[in-house]
């Protein structure tokens, strides 16, 4: 049987799939991490699993995209590009797969076309399979991604998002498939994106069958979640009806909202006479054995509520949003209202808002609206900006029907019809000036950014800059195991922490005592590779804010001087203040003489006016930025 190797042309991949006797499996490690561990599974763990996962012979490893790009830089401090490069070193064969939200890329709002194309081009260097969707199934929202993926020679996997209800008929989905194929051609894999794990096995089987009837030569990739515990059933029916690829994940990390275990799928389908093409079952088992021990360190990120959620068929939240929704409920103290929110309000809101697909960013709009409706008292009384944009059609047209007028009135106001007329419809988003953005980033970083850095900056400007600065200060932290990275309660004195750095060098940190002095400052003592090191922490200062008093830069001092605030430009002593308060000075007049490095230097006025406040006196030692005097402009 033919295994598909990374680097093959899209056309050949699809040809292989068409001829395959059996089905393929995608290991959806990213979706598992997002659904059951709040996206916190570290590259360290994925690298541990890499060798066996590569050997296992998956169609692809879904390891990037979705919310992971943001969480990578924000919470795991790992470069999403570096992650793919490091994994590629250990996984020479397996295709890497991403999940892309069309115009919304890996974020929550539409991006300009040139940003979308630039981002896809950069990621397509490392990503072989592009699963792309739009939460309104609005195909034009995916055009730019399709084109760039095609140009890069990578495999397009457009999605039809799946849900249940009277409107979600086979006819509708077959028509969507037609619309997609008209744009992409047939050398694609078509994904049925069942992010909620909705519907029965029978329903999924019928849908796959309907699609295969019409497009026999387009391989179907079934993606589901095991939220109700029944995704293996749906997978079986998908394959029996002709699906070429299905999603599953490693059992040692399987939870409640992610994909079902690979081995369960394989064993079940075997009974039905279907073989998993190229799969090495021993490697699948070995993967789970290798990483099993790591799961304990991620416990803090597992769901607040344990157990399957068969009521997902009612509330339809996607697996990838379950963890974060429950976390929000726990933090917000409204876990006890969850039954009302999930089982009563959410289905109601869904119907009211057009019964579209509950997936990012649409699922967030539904969830936020339902929570606000329940907790706020007045339904639609406090609409979010995103709900407003949804009603205005900024994300695209409603697929089946428009919400009722009263909702428009609540959200857009009494003159909602005028507002809709004036502001409604998909905006043509103006292209960003990428050269300018690059320059702005260079200013922030102090060095010319790489294309990859610019891509991350365009996705999440503030968080990306924070991340770059973090890396400069703390290095490549992905090398640390979750036992170190997610340690709670601190380390034990005498504990030895071993790791291998980004350059492959082995290191050992021995934890020493952490005495607190009279001023409340803590000194953390480590032996770093047998060298004593001390890290000082100011008393009760928030992390990241420590450090000495602010010292102004030369530019800042000059800026202040030009505004009449004369500061010491260097570290030195005041020899003389040569003016008096109330005296008039012109630009270039000498106002003081300072001495530093045994040299006297005149301090000149950068602004004309009246000397108002002399704060330094002869003999004072000043640091750079120390106040000398003020000049008020002449009126």
């Amino acid at each position: 049987m033919t295994r598909i190797i990374q680097g093959s042309p899209a056309k050949d991949i699809v040809a292989t799939l068409r001829q395959a006797k059996g089905y393929y499996i995608t290991n959806t490690a990213r979706d598992q991490s997002q659904s059951d561990f709040k996206n916190r599974i570290l590259l360290h763990t994925d690298l541990m699993a890499a060798e066996n996962r590569d050997k296992a012979g998956y169609f692809s490893l879904e390891i990037t995209g979705g919310a992971s790009i943001h969480v990578d830089i924000l919470r795991k401090q790992v470069d999403p590009f570096l992650k793919l490069k490091k994994l590629r070193e250990k996984m020479p064969n397996t295709m890497f797969q991403t999940l892309c939200r069309g115009v919304n890329l890996f974020g929550y709002r539409p991006y300009p076309q040139n940003v979308i194309r630039f981002t896809v081009r950069e990621f397509a260097k490392y990503v072989d399979v592009w699963r792309t969707f739009d939460f309104l199934n609005h195909v034009p929202n995916m055009h730019a991604v399709f084109e760039e993926v095609g140009k890069a020679g990578k495999l397009n996997e457009p999605c039809i998002c799946f849900s249940t209800g009277p409107e979600h008929s086979n006819e509708y989905y077959v028509e969507k498939a037609r619309e997609i194929i008209t744009v992409t051609g047939r050398d694609i894999t078509l994904c049925i994106k069942n992010h909620g794990g909705l519907g029965t096995p029978k329903r999924i089987g019928e849908l796959v069958n309907a699609l295969k009837q019409k497009y026999a030569d387009v391989p179907i990739h079934y993606h589901g979640h095991n939220t109700d515990g029944n995704d293996v059933g749906r997978i079986v029916e998908a394959v029996r009806n002709g699906a070429a690829i299905v999603d599953a994940a490693d059992s040692s990390f399987s939870g409640f909202y992610g994909p079902p275990p690979v081995l369960t799928v394989v064993q079940t389908l075997k009974e039905y006479g279907f073989e998993s093409v190229g799969l090495d079952e021993e490697a699948v088992i070995a993967t789970s054995e290798v990483i099993r021990d790591q799961r304990q360190y991620y416990e803090q990120f597992e769901s607040q509520i344990k157990g399957f959620q068969p009521t997902v068929q009612i509330h339809k939240l996607p697996g990838g949003a379950m963890g974060s929704s429950l976390e929000q409920a726990a933090k917000g103290g409204f876990l006890d209202r969850m039954s009302d929110i999930l089982h009563k309000e959410l289905p109601r809101v869904q119907k009211e808002l057009g019964n579209y697909w509950s997936v990012t960013p649409g699922s967030q709009i539904l969830w936020t609206t339902a929570v606000a409706n329940v907790l706020g008292g007045e339904r639609y009384g406090n609409p979010s900006g995103d709900l407003r944009n949804l009603l205005l059609g900024k994300y695209g047209p409603f697929p089946f029907y428009r919400p009722e007028d009263w909702i428009y009135e609540k959200v857009l106001g009494d003159d909602w019809q005028k507002v809709l007329e004036r502001e409604g419809g998909v905006d043509a988003i103006i292209d960003m000036d990428l050269a300018h953005e690059r320059y702005a980033l260079a200013e922030l970083l102090g060095v010319e950014p790489t294309d990859e850095q610019l891509v991350l900056y365009l996705q999440h400007p503030n968080d990306a800059v924070e991340f770059f600065k973090f890396s400069e200060k703390y290095g490549q932290v992905y090398v640390l195991s979750p036992a170190i990275f997610f340690r709670q309660g601190g380390f034990i004195v005498g504990e030895k922490l071993a790791f291998r750095d980004h350059h492959g060098k082995e290191h050992m940190i021995e934890v020493g005592p952490s005495p607190v002095n009279d001023a409340g400052e803590t000194s953390v003592y480590f032996n770093v590779d047998h060298h004593p090191s001390i890290f000082n922490f100011k008393a009760k200062t928030a992390v990241g804010q420590q450090g000495g008093a602010l010292i102004l830069s030369k530019e800042e001092i000059l800026e202040l001087a030009k505004a009449g605030d004369v500061r010491s430009p260097f570290s030195g002593k005041i020899v003389e203040i040569t003016v008096d308060e109330g005296q008039e000075v012109l630009v270039g007049d000498r106002v003081a003489i300072m001495e530093a490095m045994k040299m006297q230097t005149p301090i000149l006025a950068e602004m004309g006016g009246i000397v108002t406040l002399i704060s330094a006196k002869k003999g004072d030692g000043l640091k750079p930025g120390g106040k000398i005097l003020k000049i008020d402009p002449n009126e």
């Binding site: 401090q77 290095g475 990275f485 997610f486 803590t522 953390v524 020899v575 490095m597 045994k598 040299m599």
Partner: protein
Amino acid sequence: MKKKILVANRGEIAIRLTRAIQELGCEAVAVYETPDEMSRHIRIADEAILLGDGPRCDYLNIEKIIRAAKKSGACAIHPGYGFLAENPFFAKACENNGIIFIGPTADIILNLGNKVIARNIMAEAGIPMVPGTQNLKQGRIGVAEALSFAAKYGYPTMLKATSGGGGRGIRRIESDAEMKEMIPVARAEALAAFNDDSVFLEKVVINPKHVEVQILADSHGNTLHLGTRDCSIQRRNQKLIEIAPSMIKNRPLLDEICNTAVKAAKAANYLNAGTVEFLIDKDQNYYFMEINTRVQVEHTVTEMITGIDIVRNQINIAFGKPLSFTQKDVQIRGHAIEVRINAEDPKNDFMPEGGKKVSVYRSTGGFGVRLDGFVYQGYVIPEVYDSLLVKLTVHGFTWEETVERLKRCLHNFAIRGPKTTIPFYVNIANEKDFVTGNFDTSYIETHPHIFHYDEDASEVGKLARFISQIHYSRENPFSK
């Protein structure tokens, strides 16, 4: 009874002098100001006398030091460098009180300390010199003199305080306007610093090498040299790295410079240890600059390559003994480099790290390594004195070996608490022009990238910093 010698200084040089005194079988008397009461030089000395609360003023107080010498029964005083070392009134006060001043006589210090007199002495002896003026006359006439000198020799030109020295009181003038502006400033500065507002001009030698010759002269008419040092690596006329011997390949030129230095010393009737400084331009012309009438900070490099203890000889000369060796006995062997490891932040204009505690101090050692320091673990960098922690001098048979040893030693140091100049020196030690011996006084400004380093440059240092955050916060504060 053992002879007692008072050390009128602090810090590393006080320790250096104390060691030589004790090796000669004498007792060393330390003096100190209150802020220095934890200083190591006191503990190494045989006795110590508190001068006062300072700071700095008591080390400069001639009367108090003479009194301390008398009280302790010291028969001689070694002034070291800085403070009173080149103060002719101090030398005179010692003489008047029957105390031996370890250094030249007050007259010599006075003459050589006055740059214009010194220039006249050297001109008479036929020593090559940078064109310059006499003392500028006061007021407008002086300015006119300055402008006509500049018209003849062009800008830039150096405006120097006649009584300045050691890089003090020198400024570069680029234009007539600046000349007019700066002469009064320089006068005021000179008056404040040296109690003499005389200034003069010298033509600027563009990007010269700074080469100096160590001289020893006894009271029996023997004057000899201990070879050259190159102190070209400077920042604003302050030396950072010193090398012996000079890296100039032209041996006959260096020999000529050494002989000229001896001639200059003789012309000044020089006595004791001194340094004759020269500038060497691109065409290998050399010019006399000045004679420093003290032991220099960088004397260690000369000691390493000659094996001659300069401080020991200073004391013997002061006690009237003849030099125990001749010029022929002085052999230069290998190369030596000295770096001044200061508690300063080179990136922030070398701002001193006063007030910080040295929480970890681990130094280096081994073959060809010399440390002159007084820092120790737990030491708090004083805010009122200079920030020199330790002088590292390395000696090697070849230049390459010496540079490699320097790198190794810098790497061996572990100093935590204050920022230091170590990473800055590491960058220099790895810099191509330095490694090939190709540098002049423009080195620092023409190699700005030597300022690019990260204090915790090592990846593991950064990771350790991150892990300390997880430890201190009792959870990963970046992953909430």
